[in-house]
């Protein structure tokens, strides 16, 4: 059973799940009982295909009888595609399981299930095809299919005007990004005569044209990946979709954008130039920092998660930028380290961001609440979700022994090799990036302490949250899979890297064999004396000491007396007295205040009471987007003067045109 065949199976299953969903208008349970399970199966098949490709490490190609008459769709499954198939597959699998519990809540709403299920299936199809495509035309078709179907999913709850606006913004930016990517391919095709990727690889570009192509691709894919300042659609669009879709979008779709970028820049474009590395590095650092800062300012849990996606994408691009830098300056080995770090963070982010969105979805499902300020004490009401969410928070905050830490560690290791660069400027630039990365990590930890502490600990801040109960088994299972994987990828990085070693081997022509040279216990990306991380040992030791401690005081566990909180002897605290999310972030908000538009103050409410209100607005709006919108409006207002309504003026136009043309001609 060849991997390509499995991948085809995955696509077929995804399409079937879409097809089945169409009938769920009549038979509502069909979506839950058949469509989403098929979806999960598709994910499983994709995962299998990806793993098989990585293990076998060989490239398989095929042709489909679709597309242009002189250019049928080319399909190619190599290690890079395989890796991203794994990313797509594993999250889709979890989402499929989770979703079948989640959509139950929608069955009695007036939102149409066929739309939800159908476009979910198409969404997955699009993503799979993007990864499989081997010519620009199929790539673009699949890419836009992905955008379009996800747009319909964003617009799924289209009763609120805000959601419609988000969907519009999303589609618009997706369209612009798509066009820019298309142009990028156009440049490559013009030089490599032909839209098949092989032809493009063959093409020889001058530095100027290569840079044009690179910039176009960077804009296009960066827009989809949500790099600052092209990120504004992301925090609008991701939260308003149904939660399992948000998990897919943040967890997988952004990765597909990363895939596109890697495919374009590392594989197709040919020679790499260090200037690109600098650009990617800078943009990545800015995205990481701004992303986490904006995340800290949010009170809507899903918005917060979306912003933190911006942060993590920034980290991934920092890795890619380092890789470009090292490769362009001839340090291939280091380039590979950075590249692998980026890949590792890619799958990590897919896992824990998916997990966190599923958790947020579970909260939404049982507490009907997205606003952190209303939550609290959920850990005791929905323990499973609480534990899984905690694992997600630990992973995303890059804490050992979880997976987020490994990729961040690898990125640091790559950055610390900056001393090998020749140019002093770059040598001093890279450490600053490392500083930004460190700052980002710390802020992320703060951010997720806030999320978990406010949402799951303390006491419930509203009635409906107090009534929250645990979620059905399928939803717990969906989260459990991802949580488990977060832990495993954190404890056994050596095996994982040994598995995806073939990706750099195929793309960059060099593997990362030294990383796994000292057995599965020791991760040594550069060399054992430079740096080593015994992830399994850390985990084991932690576990041992914990066990010992618990055993030591085990008898004491019974001997805990419950009482009121002491709280320096004040009256027993009420929920209203707890620290709120915005209060938690207040010191940081004050420190970085100049980066946001902050509107805060006591405003009278409609019900007559005074209430503190806080609004943190993204500066990118005022800087980049509103001017463009205004310019278009102004131009339109000028242009409509053509349609003055007076037939004589129209005739005048015809006469003038005629005379001018005659004058030109004669």
């Amino acid at each position: 059973m060849s991997p390509l065949w499995l991948a085809g199976l995955a696509v077929g299953l995804a399409l079937m799940s879409a097809l089945v969903a169409l009938f769920s208008a009549r038979v509502t349970h069909l979506l839950r009982t058949l469509s989403l399970p098929l979806f999960a199966l598709a994910g499983l098949a994709a995962l299998a295909a990806g793993l098989l490709t990585l293990v076998q490490g060989e490239v398989t190609t095929a042709q489909l009888p679709l597309g242009l008459p002189w250019l049928p769709w080319q399909v190619r499954l190599d290690a890079l595609s395989g890796f991203f198939l794994c990313v797509i597959g594993v999250v889709s699998f979890a989402v499929g399981i989770y979703g079948s519990g989640y959509v139950r809540g929608l069955e009695h709403g007036r939102d149409s299930l066929p739309v939800l299920g159908g476009f979910t299936g198409l969404f997955l199809t699009g993503m799979l095809l993007v990864v499989l495509a081997d010519d620009a035309f199929m790539f673009m078709v699949a890419w836009e299919l992905m955008s379009l179907s996800s747009y319909f999913l964003v617009a799924f709850h289209h009763d609120q005007a805000a959601n419609r606006r988000a969907a519009f913004l999303y589609l618009l930016m997706a369209h612009v990004g798509g066009l820019s990517i298309l142009l990028g391919y156009g440049v490559l095709a013009a030089f490599g005569d032909g839209f098949a990727f092989d032809a493009m690889r063959a093409g020889e570009l001058s530095f100027g044209w290569a840079s044009v192509a690179f910039v176009l691709a960077f804009i296009g894919f960066g827009m989809k990946a949500g790099l600052v300042p092209l990120h504004v659609w992301l925090p609008e669009a991701h939260p308003v979709a149904p939660s399992h879709i948000s998990a897919l979008m943040s967890g997988v779709m952004l990765k597909v954008a990363v895939y596109g970028f890697i495919r374009f820049v590392f594989d197709l474009i040919g020679d790499i130039h260090w200037q690109w590395g600098v650009a990617v590095l800078v943009i990545g650092s800015i995205s990481a920092l701004m992303g986490v800062l904006y995340a800290l300012m949010q009170q809507d849990i899903k918005r917060l998660l979306a912003y933190s996606s911006v942060e993590n994408i920034g980290i991934i691009f920092i890795g890619l930028g380092l890789a470009l830098l090292f490769l362009a300056t001839g340090h291939k080995g280091l380039g590979v380290v950075a590249f692998v770090a980026a890949l590792y963070h890619t799958i990590n982010h897919a896992l824990f961001k998916g997990l966190l969105f599923l958790g947020a979805g579970a909260v939404l499902h049982s507490a009907h609440e997205r606003n952190l300020e209303q939550m609290g004490g959920l850990l005791r009401r929905m323990p499973w979700t609480g534990v899984f969410f905690l694992i997600g928070c630990l992973s995303i905050s890059a804490l050992p022994p979880f997976n987020g830490f490994v990729s961040e560690w690898l990125t640091f290791q790559a950055a610390l090799q900056a001393w090998q660069l020749d140019s002093g400027v770059l040598r001093s630039l890279v450490p600053i990036t490392a500083a930004v990365l460190a700052l980002t990590g710390a802020l992320a930890a703060a951010c997720f302490v806030k999320v978990y502490g406010v949402a799951f600990l303390g006491q419930a801040r509203s009635r409906h949250v107090r009534r929250a109960r645990g979620v059905p088994l399928s939803m717990r299972a969906g989260q459990g899979v991802l949580a488990l994987l977060c832990l495993l990828l954190g404890i056994f990085p050596t095996s994982v890297i040994a598995l995806l070693d073939v990706v750099p081997l195929q793309v960059l022509g060099q593997g990362l064999s030294q990383a796994t040279a000292h057995g599965w216990l020791w991760l040594t990306p550069i060399s054992s004396e430079t740096a080593s991380y015994g992830a399994p040992l850390v985990a084991i030791i932690l576990a041992l000491i914990l066990a010992a401690g618990l055993w030591l005081f085990g008898r004491g566990i019974r001997r805990v007396r419950r009482c009121d909180a002491w709280d320096c002897g004040f009256a027993p605290p009420t929920p209203a007295m707890q620290y709120t999310a915005s209060a938690f972030a207040q010191p940081i908000r004050q420190l970085f205040g100049s980066l946001f538009y902050i509107e805060e103050g006591i405003k009278p409410q409609p019900d007559g009471r005074q209430r503190y209100q806080l609004q943190v607005v993204d500066r990118a709006w005022g800087l980049f987007y509103l001017p463009v919108a205004r310019a278009v409006e102004r131009a339109a207002r000028q242009v409509v003067r053509l349609q003055s309504g007076n037939v004589r003026i129209y005739l005048g136009w015809s006469l003038a045109t005629l005379l001018i043309l005659l004058w030109i001609m004669a």
């Binding site: 349609q643 309504g645 007076n646 037939v647 004589r648 005739l651 015809s654 006469l655 005379l659």
Partner: protein, 227 residues
């Protein structure tokens, strides 16, 4: 090309076409509708005469037919229809002076010169003398268009349109000795139908905005009130 070597017929033809040009200036200037219609009729007559002269000169007998066609259509039928319409719309006393007559005349003259300048290359590479009538006919066409631009009266616009058609006809005759018959017939038929439809529209317009001032038909515009 010097005039005295030309045979009388051709001199006559040149004179006639000059008069055609004159009539279209008259059309352009004429404030009273009825008078304008008369001018238009005369233009039709002249075009028919030119056609006939060309026919006799070149011996293309199908031109006699088209001369007759022109006479019947442009000189008799259409003016008559316009007359009836104008009377039934009680517009026979209607006067509509131009806003800047001098300016319009200047523009007309400019158009004449422009069209002559345009046609020059053709005239040079051609020997047949009727070519420079093409310049006249082009001028007539352009002046007709100009008239549609400057006149805000629907009937006047139709007159402009029709005199454009005259110019076309003149061009066809003078430049090529007439189009193929099928085309001639088609064109004539189209013109006729167009005239009928114009008549229908006059009534529809006047009953919808009880006037034929095209400037008052400006509902359909993209402009919003703030501009």
């Amino acid at each position: 090309m010097n005039l005295e070597q030309l045979p009388l017929l051709q001199q006559l033809m040149i004179v006639l076409s000059a008069v055609v040009l004159l009539t279209s200036f008259v059309l352009l200037e004429q404030a009273r509708l009825v008078a304008a219609i008369h001018a238009f009729a005369w233009q039709g007559v002249l075009v028919a005469m030119v056609t006939a002269v060309v026919a006799t000169g070149s011996g293309l007998e199908h031109l006699f037919f088209s001369a007759a066609l022109t006479l019947g259509l442009k000189a008799l039928l259409i003016p008559w229809m316009l007359h009836r319409l104008v009377r039934r719309l009680e517009l026979d006393r209607h006067k509509e002076p131009l806003h800047h007559p001098a300016l319009v005349i200047m523009a007309g003259v400019a158009l004449v010169i422009f069209s002559y300048w345009l046609v020059l290359p053709m005239i040079q590479e051609e020997l047949m003398f009727t070519r420079n009538i093409v310049a006249v006919s082009l001028a007539v066409v352009l002046i007709g268009l100009l008239m549609m631009v400057v006149r805000q009266q629907a009937v006047a616009q139709v007159l402009g349109f029709m005199s454009m058609e005259n110019g076309l006809f003149l061009a066809a005759v003078s430049a090529t000795g007439g189009m193929p018959l099928v085309v001639e017939l088609g064109v004539a038929f189209d013109v006729l139908v167009a005239m009928v439809l114009f008549g229908v529209f006059f009534f529809q317009i006047s009953e919808s905005i009880d006037s034929l001032d095209v400037d008052r038909m400006n509902r359909l515009t993209e402009r919003t009130d703030e501009e």
